[in-house]
C-alpha cells in the first residue's frame, strides 16, 4: 500500500516534472540544439560558389582553421577576451564589493545604475563613444581645455579603443553575478574571522573571496564567452583594423559566401570556449571551493 502510493506519487511527480520541463526542452531543442547540429553538419559540408552548401564529409574547412592567418586571429581574440575578463574582474570586484557591503540603503539605486546602460542598444552606446572620442569630441575638447594637449589626439579607431569599448560593454555582466554572491554573504563570518585573529586582508582572501567564487566564475564566463565572439565593437571603435573571430565568422557568412568555413570557425570557437571554461572551473573553481 505504502509502496504503491509511493509509485503513484512518483509517477505523478515525474509527469508533472515532464510537463514543467517540456517548454524549456522544446525551446532548447528547437532554438539551440537544432541550429547547433545544423552548424556542425554545415562545417563538414562544401560551400557553393554562390552560397548554399552541399552536405558531406569534408574536413578541409577544419584544416583551413589552422591556416596561420586565421589561427593568429583566433589566438589574438582569445587573448583580448581574456584581458577583457581580467580587467572587468579587477574593476567589477571592488565595485560589487562596495555596493554589497557599503551600499546601505543606496544598494538598489546603485545596482540599478550599473544596469541602466542595458536599457539602450549596444549600437547606440558604441556610437556614443565614437562621438565622445572623436577629433572634435568631448574627450579631446576637455583635454585641450585643461591644457593637457595642444591639438586633437587619436583616441578612437585604435586597439585601445576596442579594449575600452569591450570593458565598458561587458562590465555589468561581471558586476551583477559578483554582487549577487557578495550580497548573500553572511557578515558574521567576517566578524568571526576577525575574532579569531585574522587581519582584514586575511579575512578577505581566506573567507570573503572564496565564498564569492561562484560569482567570480559566473561573471568571468558571462564576460569571456561573448567577448571572444564579439564583432560589432571592433568594427565600430576599431575602424575595422582589429579583426576578431566574430568578425571572421561574419565575413565568411556574409561576404565570402563560405558557410562551411564559417560554420567550422564557429564550431572551433565553441569548442575552444568550452575547453577554456572546463579548465577554469576545474582548476580555479572547484579546487578552491573544496579547499574551503
Amino acid at each position: 500500500m505504502a509502496a504503491q502510493k509511493g509509485v503513484d506519487k512518483g509517477r505523478g511527480w515525474s509527469l508533472g516534472l515532464a510537463g514543467l520541463l517540456a517548454p524549456a526542452a522544446f525551446w532548447l531543442g528547437v532554438f539551440f540544439l537544432v541550429p547547433l547540429l545544423l552548424i556542425l553538419a554545415y562545417s563538414f559540408g562544401t560551400s557553393g560558389v554562390y552560397g548554399g552548401i552541399t552536405l558531406g564529409f569534408n574536413p578541409e574547412n577544419y584544416l583551413k582553421v589552422f591556416d596561420p592567418l586565421y589561427l593568429q586571429i583566433i589566438v589574438r581574440s582569445t587573448v583580448i577576451a581574456l584581458l577583457n575578463t581580467l580587467i572587468c574582474l579587477a574593476i567589477g570586484y571592488p565595485l560589487a564589493y562596495f555596493i554589497a557591503f557599503r551600499g546601505g540603503s543606496w544598494k538598489t539605486a546603485l545596482i540599478l545604475l550599473v544596469m541602466i546602460p542595458f536599457w539602450t542598444s549596444l549600437l547606440v552606446r558604441a556610437y556614443a563613444w565614437v562621438v565622445i572620442l572623436g577629433g572634435n569630441g568631448l574627450a579631446n575638447r576637455t583635454l585641450q581645455f585643461l591644457g593637457i594637449t595642444d591639438g586633437p589626439i587619436t583616441l578612437i579607431f585604435t586597439p585601445q579603443a576596442v579594449m575600452m569599448g569591450l570593458v565598458y560593454s561587458y562590465l555589468p555582466f561581471m558586476v551583477l553575478p559578483l554582487y549577487a554572491s557578495l550580497e548573500k554573504f553572511d557578515a558574521r563570518l567576517k566578524e568571526a574571522a576577525q575574532d579569531l585573529g585574522a587581519s582584514r586582508w586575511q579575512t578577505f582572501w581566506r573567507v570573503t573571496f572564496p565564498l564569492s567564487l561562484p560569482g567570480v566564475i559566473a561573471g568571468s564566463i558571462l564576460v569571456f564567452i561573448p567577448s571572444a565572439g564579439e564583432f560589432v565593437i571592433p568594427d565600430l571603435l576599431g575602424g575595422s583594423q582589429t579583426v576578431m573571430t566574430g568578425n571572421l565568422i561574419q565575413q565568411q557568412f556574409l561576404n565570402a559566401r563560405d558557410w562551411a568555413f564559417g560554420s567550422a570557425l564557429a564550431v572551433m570557437l565553441a569548442v575552444l570556449m568550452l575547453g577554456a571554461i572546463l579548465i577554469y572551473v576545474r582548476r580555479i573553481g572547484t579546487d578552491r571551493l573544496e579547499g574551503v
Partner: protein
C-alpha cells in the same frame, strides 16, 4: 552599398551586422521570419493589390512611392536591406514575397546564376527606351534579361582641398604626408579594387600575381590609415577634418562638396569604380505584373529626375537628364565627360576568387 546624407542605411547595416546571427539562423533553418508576403489586406481595389518593394533605405524620393500608389490605386510596402549579401541570403532562404528588389551590379549576375530572380518581360517596360546607351547591356546582364538600371554612381575620393591640394590619382591615398588621416571603404571589392586599379590592373582580376601585388600595396597603406569604414561614416570624418582623404561613394561625397566649399570629390586616375543598382523581380514574386508596372514607372523621365534630385546619385535615365537640377548637372564629377566615363570599371562577380579576395582583405585588416 551606397547611402546618402545621414543615411539610415549605414545604421541599418550595423544593426544588420548585429542581426547576422538571426538572419543566418533564418537561412540555416530555411524558415522565414518576418518575410511573410504582405499581399491581401486592403488589396483587391481596381487592378490593385500590394507591391512589395525590397530596397536600400532612403533610396527613393519623397514623391516616388505616393506617386505610384496614386497612379495605380495600389499600396506599396517597402522593406529595407543593408547589403547585397543580406539580400541574397534572404532570397536564397526562399518565399520572401517581394515583387521588386534593387541589387547592385555583380549581385545581379549571382542572382541570375543561382535562379532567385526571373526574366523580365520587356514588352511591359516600354520606358526602357529612356535608358541611356551606356547603361544597357552592362557586363553583369549583357542582354538586360533580368535587370533594368535604377541609379548609378562612382566610388572616388572626398578630400580637403585646402590641406591636400588637387587630387588626381589613387597615389594620394598612399601619401605618407597624410599618415593617420586617410580612410578606406570597409568593402573587399572596393578597397582591393582601388589597389588593383592603382596598379593598372582590372578591378575584376583573378590573377594570383596581380592580387598578390594588390595585397602588398594595401599592407603598405595600412599604417597610414585611420581605419576601414562604411562610406557614410567616412563623409562626416572628412567634414570634421579628422580625415583628409576619404574613399566614398559619389552621391554622398558630392553632397558634402555642395555643403562645404573646401571639400572636393575626385574620380581618381587611372581608373575608378562605376556601380549601378538595378531593379529585378524575384522568382516567385506574388505580383509580377505590378512589379513590371513599377519598374516602368521608375523609368519615367519625371520620376527618374525626382529620384536623382533627391538622392544626388546618377540617373541611367537619359530622358530624365533635362529635368535634373542645375546644381547637380554643373558638377563634372556628377556627370563625368566621356573620357572620364570610359576609364570607369564595373565590379563583376569573380566566382571562386571571391574567397581569395576575402582572405587578402582579412590578412590586410588583421596585419
Amino acid at each position: 552599398m551606397k547611402g546618402r546624407r545621414i543615411s539610415r542605411r549605414d545604421f541599418l547595416k550595423r544593426l544588420g551586422a548585429g542581426a547576422v546571427a538571426g538572419s543566418t539562423l533564418t537561412v540555416l533553418s530555411a524558415c522565414t521570419v518576418d518575410t511573410a508576403p504582405r499581399q491581401g489586406g486592403d488589396g483587391g481595389s481596381e487592378g490593385g493589390g500590394t507591391l512589395n518593394l525590397y530596397n536600400w533605405s532612403d533610396y527613393v524620393a519623397e514623391t516616388t512611392i505616393p506617386g505610384f500608389e496614386e497612379e495605380f490605386g495600389v499600396r506599396v510596402v517597402q522593406d529595407f536591406y543593408a547589403s547585397n549579401e543580406e539580400l541574397l541570403a534572404k532570397l536564397q532562404a526562399g518565399g520572401t514575397g517581394y515583387d521588386v528588389i534593387v541589387p547592385s551590379d555583380y549581385m545581379v549576375e549571382i542572382m541570375a546564376k543561382s535562379g532567385v530572380i526571373q526574366e523580365l518581360d520587356m514588352a511591359k517596360i516600354p520606358n526602357f527606351e529612356n535608358v541611356g546607351e551606356n547603361f544597357r547591356g552592362l557586363p553583369y546582364d549583357p542582354e538586360n534579361r533580368y535587370s533594368v538600371p535604377y541609379q548609378w554612381g562612382t566610388t572616388g575620393i572626398l578630400y580637403d582641398r585646402e590641406e591636400v591640394g588637387e587630387v588626381e590619382s589613387w597615389d594620394a591615398m598612399w601619401d605618407e604626408r597624410y599618415a593617420g588621416r586617410i580612410a578606406m571603404i570597409d568593402d573587399v571589392r572596393e578597397t582591393i579594387g582601388a589597389a588593383l586599379m592603382r596598379l593598372g590592373y582590372s578591378i575584376n582580376s583573378t590573377d594570383e600575381g596581380e592580387l598578390g601585388e594588390a595585397r602588398e600595396l594595401l599592407l603598405e597603406q595600412k599604417p597610414l590609415l585611420r581605419g576601414y569604414f562604411a562610406s557614410t561614416e567616412i563623409v562626416p570624418l572628412v567634414e570634421s577634418g579628422d580625415v583628409l582623404l576619404g574613399h566614398v561613394f559619389s552621391g554622398e561625397g558630392i553632397l558634402a562638396t555642395v555643403e562645404n566649399e573646401n571639400l572636393a570629390y575626385a574620380i581618381p586616375k587611372p581608373a575608378a569604380t562605376r556601380w549601378t543598382d538595378n531593379m529585378c523581380i524575384p522568382a516567385g514574386a506574388p505580383n509580377p505584373d505590378l512589379a513590371h508596372e513599377f519598374i516602368n514607372y521608375i523609368l519615367d523621365a519625371q520620376v527618374g529626375a525626382d529620384l536623382t534630385n533627391y538622392t544626388y546619385y546618377g540617373t541611367p535615365n537619359e530622358a530624365a537628364l533635362p529635368l535634373i537640377d542645375e546644381e547637380l548637372t554643373s558638377i563634372p564629377e556628377w556627370n563625368p565627360p566621356d573620357e572620364v566615363f570610359d576609364r570607369l570599371q564595373v565590379i563583376e562577380d569573380v566566382g571562386e576568387a571571391t574567397r581569395d579576395y576575402e582572405r587578402i582583405f582579412t590578412e590586410v585588416k588583421s596585419a
